[in-house]
């Protein structure tokens, strides 16, 4: 698409954005893939519409305030990237645009405080834990609170599992086949410590030595995707240091963190650490990809056949193109019958802090996802991301269904342990 | 003078401009439609005849509207091609224009579609005497309003057709026919539904009351025997097979509706869902349901009002092709203002017969 953007004037990410807009041919192939378009049916809430709006803002013919509501509604799920035949790097565009626009926008004070609060708690397990406890105490007050504070309360689990500090190193069982560094994830540690436990056990069982480098912090994706570039850079720099050792790979079991790390080259564009960031990003792997490449040690058969629905986390499927590997892992468990979820490419509505910021759309999508899952008749839902896990579990419960929701490595771990 | 015989589109234009009331006529194979009434001048179009363009590699043929179907078919046949909508009354001398104007297709329309699906281009003289072209002479064209389709079934009401372009297809290298009798209509109809929803490709799928299906296969000769077997297997019963010349002669008779005898000759557009109720109403009238129950031809010897009544009761439109009546359109006529306005646009002065008394 033609544009009149002057990249110079726009800032460091100007070229990136201009390139993305140029690549868009306005064909609309992304419309059916976009969850917000599916729900709202309006062009402004489609990828094509958003690209157009960003273009108009960057060209100076539309005010940021006019475009902002629709940019805000974008989940960043990147369903559009998968659907786009023209190769528009929408993820780079929206991230850059948010970084560009955040400093320029005026937010109401309470919203600012709320966002700041999120940024200051979610990435820090200890703070998050404290906040969550407070939140649970605040529950009886829910009806009195404004809606933007009600949503996060609903997402908090009734019980927080006890904290489980991770060891610094886990030895390989049997012959050592690889040595990796592990990113523990922030919210995940608090909400579902079991994910990391399971991951470490499965890796060890497969002859992988795991180091959990000290000094690692939140990957910064949360900050980056909400336009807080400076904060993201700060966090990312700490991680560059923490993960600088010599490992066969840097693993994560949280899709969002994985894609966050892979975005470092974009984040550091024009910074001194650009090369370093690229090198790190190249070594980052989702645990499922790593295990498939390594080759699983034999999994004992399940006691009874199990119908498993695999849910593609956007940040795995769309952002990293990881679809086949988790399925391959599940299929290698004898007794698992893998089923596909209708509209599987559509986001569940979790999307980082989205269900905190756009609770209505998030809830519509969550329910739609839950219904699609139920339509498969699966006994278990498996996914590779903490956000999806929470969202799907909540919405299944809302429909009165207690289908277990597991992380891919959890199912694998249970299978190894003969618990299924 | 109540009959004109133009030999050039210009003469058609002159005729239209100088006569307030006209009725185009191909040659009269559908006399109910082409017999002029009081005050009408008949416009004989058989003088406007001849194939204008034909390149077999294009699958396109262009001819004057008065060209006899028989002449055109002979030409196509010589190149292994045909008009896939299988127009009727070829043997009775029907013309291309009359076929389009009456909107008639035959049994083989089942395979690829009817006359509306194969008309590509049209040239006609409208009610103001203007010579108008619509569509084109290539197999695909999306420019402008689809006037060619509009003319299908127009009964000379929107203009006098002078030239027509059609898409044609290769004629199947071999054909074979299976006549299958069922214990009753219900079972025949059930089989018709099953066949129509199956991937079995039939050139004709006719229901012949009281309880038979006549099925025509076409394609490469080497595959035909196996396909006949499969067809019988699919139906779970054997049938009478027709092949070679006898088969061809059979279908020529069918499409020209030769065995229908006397009486009003009527076309009815329907869907198979209507067949049971119609069967209960039509008594002994000779008839045949073609194209998987979407097209009925019948010969009616009773009063036309009775048939009109029956069709209305079923919500179906009919067209009388032979037999003298005031209005050949019987049964349901749901034409609304859309039709009236378009008609008025092309024939503002009402030169042509309108037959449109919506009911």
């Amino acid at each position: 698409m033609q544009h009149r953007i002057d990249p110079e004037k726009v800032g460091p990410q100007g070229e990136v954005m201009a390139h993305a807009i140029e690549a868009c041919v306005h064909c609309g192939f992304c419309l059916p893939a976009c969850p917000t378009y599916q729900v709202l049916g309006e062009e402004m809430d489609s990828p094509r519409g958003r690209i157009f709006l960003m273009k108009e803002v960057l060209e100076g013919s539309l005010s940021l305030e006019e475009a902002q509501p629709y940019i805000d509604k974008c989940l960043g799920c990147l369903g559009c990237v998968t659907a786009c035949p023209s190769g528009v790097p929408y993820g780079e565009l929206i991230t850059s645009f948010r970084a560009y626009s955040e400093p320029k926008r005026r937010r109401p004070l309470f919203q600012k405080a709320f966002r700041m609060g999120l940024q200051e708690t979610l990435p820090y397990p200890a703070r998050f834990r404290a906040a969550a406890r407070l939140g649970r105490l605040a529950r009886p007050l829910k009806p009195l609170l404004p809606s933007f504070l009600r949503a996060p309360l609903e997402l908090l689990p009734a019980e927080l599992p006890p904290p489980e500090p991770l060891p610094e190193r886990v030895a390989a069982e049997g012959e050592r086949r690889a040595r990796v560094a592990f990113l523990a994830g922030c919210a995940q540690q608090v909400l579902q410590p079991g994910f990391n436990r399971a991951a470490l056990r499965v890796l060890a069982r497969n002859g992988v030595e795991v180091v959990i480098p000290k000094g690692q912090v939140c990957c910064g994706a949360l900050a980056l995707h909400t336009g807080e570039r400076e904060r993201a850079l700060r966090l990312a720099r700490q991680n560059l240091r923490a993960f600088s050792g010599d490992y066969d790979a840097i693993l994560t079991n949280a899709a969002g963190c994985g894609s966050g790390l892979k975005e470092y080259p974009l984040l550091f564009r024009g910074e001194a650490e650009e090369e370093e960031a690229r090198a790190l990003a190249q070594r980052v792997k989702d645990i499922a990809v790593f295990l498939v490449e390594l080759g699983l040690r034999e999994v004992p058969p399940l006691k009874e056949p199990l119908r498993v629905a695999y849910h593609d986390a956007c940040h795995l499927a769309h952002a990293q193109g990881v679809r086949a590997e988790p399925r391959a892992l599940l299929r290698s468990i004898p007794g698992v019958e893998l089923v596909e979820i209708p509209e599987g490419e559509l986001c569940c509505g979790s999307a980082g802090t989205y269900n905190l910021e756009q609770p209505q759309i998030a809830a519509t999508l969550g329910e739609r996802k839950a219904r699609n899952i139920l339509a498969t008749g699966a006994q278990v839902v498996v996914t590779g991301n903490i956000g999806c896990h929470t969202q799907i579990q909540n919405h299944l419960r809302k429909l009165g269904q207690n289908l277990p929701v597991l992380h891919t490595v959890e199912l694998l771990d249970k299978a190894y342990a003969g618990q299924l | 003078m109540n009959s004109l015989r133009p030999t050039h589109p210009k003469e058609v234009q002159e005729a239209v401009r100088s006569h307030p009331r006209l009725l185009p006529r191909g040659g009269g194979s559908k006399p109910a439609l082409s017999s002029p009434k009081e005050g009408q001048v008949a416009l004989e179009l058989t003088g406007l005849s001849g194939v204008l363009e034909y390149n077999p590699g294009e699958y396109v043929v262009v001819a004057r509207a008065g060209t006899a179907l028989a002449e055109l078919e002979a030409l196509l046949r010589a190149h292994g091609q045909y008009l896939p909508f299988d127009p009727p009354f070829v043997g009775q001398g029907a013309t291309l224009g009359g076929t389009v104007a009456a909107g008639l297709s035959g049994p083989m329309r089942n395979r690829y579609g009817g006359v509306r699906d194969f008309i590509l281009g049209v040239e006609f003289v409208d009610g103001l005497g203007n010579l108008v072209r619509g569509g084109g002479k290539v197999v695909k064209n999306a420019a402008g309003f689809d006037l060619p389709k509009l003319m299908v079934g127009s009964l000379g009401r929107l203009g006098v057709l002078t030239e027509l372009a059609f898409k044609v297809f290769p004629y199947p290298k071999a054909t074979a026919t299976l006549k299958v009798a069922f214990p009753n209509l219900g079972e025949a109809l059930e089989a018709l539904y099953r066949l129509a929803a199956s991937p079995i490709e039939l050139y004709a799928l006719d229901l012949v009351p009281p309880n038979s299906l006549v099925l025509r296969l076409g394609g490469l000769p080497e595959a035909l025997p196996a396909r006949l077997e499969r067809l019988e297997g699919f139906l779970g019963r054997r049938g009478e097979r027709l092949q070679e010349e006898a088969e061809k002669a059979y279908w020529e008779g069918v499409r020209d509706l030769r065995d229908f005898g006397e009486g009003y000759l009527v076309k009815v557009a329907l869907t198979p869902r209507h067949i049971p109720a119609l069967e209960a109403r039509l008594g002994a009238a000779p008839r045949r349901y073609m194209s998987a129950g979407h097209l009925l031809y019948l010969a009616w010897s009773g009063p036309v009002e009775a048939l009109d009544e029956a069709l209305r009761a079923e919500g179906l439109p009919g067209l009388i092709l032979r037999g003298v009546v005031a209005n050949p359109r019987i049964g349901l006529n749901s034409e609304g203002t859309f039709g009236l306005k378009v008609t008025a646009a092309l024939d503002p002065e009402g030169r042509f017969e309108r037959y449109a008394a919506p009911n």
Binding site: E22, V25, G41, C84 | V139, A223, A269, L270, S334
Partner: protein, 477 residues
């Protein structure tokens, strides 16, 4: 807000868009060379709401345009400056599917591909398959009589629409067609289909479903020249085989499709021919033998036959992604859509190549070879001064070439805004006058999609004269 708009807001409390940020994304369809800012967009959710919108427009004499997914490549759904866009995306339900009678009744915003998906459990499908199938709506398809790769045998949208409920420009409702494949009386529905939104808005469409073919045989043949591929098409036709589809892609299109979806095409080929047979298994098998002989003697240097449904889908995925994928090769491009008699394909392609050289612009070719329907994609960079103008000039020459060879200025993308200036090349003033009379009989104020299809008239692109105009290609009265 003007009083008129306030009235509209009362009619559409939840479906009116009028702020600049809401309107901007509706300014273009898939042909972004044209832009126009509407006064407002309404999002009706029922037939009655469409009637209300049309009546409002009638009352205030404000022109309007119906919009599906906005994938028109000819500016068909381009708004009329200051007019209303009636966006039908919320009317996207499947109302009925009758597997026995093989019909589906859908709302106009229902997506083409979804029809086939809904029909699949019954072994049925909806035949017209424009490349935009995953996005484009049935309403848009109907308005443009859209075609696709598989239209050689079973025709375009018009051949698969049985009936439509439409809102006429005066706000009246008309029911056109029926459920039968046959009809009595003029084919009003036939006129409506392909009328580009000028004669009314379809709110309910009855579609015909076909049984899914039992077998496919998909052949991919690679050639070292485009001519050879073109001749192969003629040879297939001459052999009396009637394939379901015959498509050609040239090297640029191959490159783009490979980059987009990795279809596994032979990258070095100068031309690829896709031929697909479909039908009953024994028949397809027999035809495949004949086809093999034809292709073998056509000079193909590599021939592949899809061995599974997955391989077949992969071949088609590349073909269907080719248009948008060209966006990877060039920042801007124009998709042209012209038809030539099949026997003139070779001549047309050679001429296009010559023109491409003369204008110094790359032209990629992807086309429905079986129908003679060319889709030259003219690559240009809008940031280079003068390139757009040259590209449009080249596009115009290609269209004139098609007409000169006895073809048409559009096979399936419609006239819309883009090609209205070329209508006189195909039709005489009398022809156009007759069409215009039909239009005015139904819409005396020419409110419905004003400015499209017919040469002359509004709307103008907001940024001064259209480049074609500046180049002297279009002349406005």
């Amino acid at each position: 807000m003007t009083p008129a708009l306030r009235e509209l807001e009362i009619l559409f409390p939840k479906g009116l868009l009028h702020r600049p940020g809401e309107l901007a994304p509706y300014e273009s369809d898939a042909l972004t060379a044209f832009r126009a800012r509407p006064l407002a967009v309404v999002l009706p959710e029922s037939h009655e709401e469409v009637v209300a919108a049309v009546r409002w427009c009638q009352k205030h004499r404000i022109p309007y345009v119906a919009r599906g997914s906005g994938t028109s490549l000819s500016g068909g759904s381009l708004p009329v400056e200051g007019g209303i866009v009636i966006a039908l995306n919320r009317m996207n339900r499947l109302l009925r599917l009758d597997p026995k009678e093989r019909t589906a009744v859908v709302q106009p915003g229902f997506i083409n591909l979804q029809v086939s998906l809904a029909a699949a459990p019954y072994g049925l499908y909806y035949a017209p398959d424009p490349s935009s199938q995953p996005v484009s709506t049935i309403g848009g398809n109907l308005a443009f009589n859209s075609g696709g790769a598989h239209c050689l045998k079973y025709g375009m949208t018009s051949n698969h629409v049985l009936g439509a409920k439409v809102v006429l420009p005066d706000g009246e409702t008309a029911s056109l067609g029926s459920e039968s494949l046959e009809g009595v009386g003029p084919d009003w529905l036939g006129l409506f289909v392909g009328s580009e939104g000028l004669l009314g808005i379809a709110t309910e469409v009855t579609l015909r479903l076909l049984p899914k073919p039992e077998a496919y045989h998909t052949v991919l043949a690679a050639y070292d020249t485009l001519e050879k591929a073109g001749e192969a098409v003629a040879a297939v036709v001459a052999s009396g085989i009637l394939p379901g589809a015959m498509e050609i892609m040239d090297s640029l299109a191959i490159e783009a499709a490979e980059a987009a979806v990795g279809a596994g095409y032979p990258r070095e080929a100068r031309a690829l021919l896709i031929v697909e047979l479909e039908g009953e298994a024994p028949e397809v098998e027999a035809e495949a033998h004949h086809l093999e002989q034809v292709i073998r003697s056509s000079g193909a240097y590599e021939v592949r036959v899809a061995q599974s449904e997955a391989e077949r889908m992969k071949i088609w995925k590349g073909r269907k992604a080719a248009f948008s994928a060209v966006g990877r090769l060039s920042p801007d491009y124009i998709v042209q859509d012209g038809v030539v008699p099949r026997s003139k394909l070779g001549q047309a392609l050679a001429e296009i190549e010559r023109l491409s050289e003369r204008y110094g612009l790359r032209v990629a070719n992807v086309f429905h070879a079986g129908d003679g329907n060319l889709h030259p994609l003219i690559l240009y960079n809008g940031r280079v001064p003068g390139e757009l103008e040259r590209a449009e000039e080249l596009a115009g020459e290609i269209l004139r070439l098609c007409v000169a060879l006895g073809g048409s200025i559009t096979g399936e993308h419609g006239v819309g805004m883009e090609k209205r200036a070329y209508m006189p090349e195909m039709f005489s003033p009398t022809d156009l006058e007759a069409m215009r009379r039909i239009r005015q009989a139904l819409d005396p104020l020419e409110l419905s999609n004003r400015g499209k299809m017919f040469p002359g008239g509004e709307p103008r692109p907001p940024s001064g004269p259209h480049p074609l105009e500046r180049a002297g290609v279009i002349v406005r009265e």
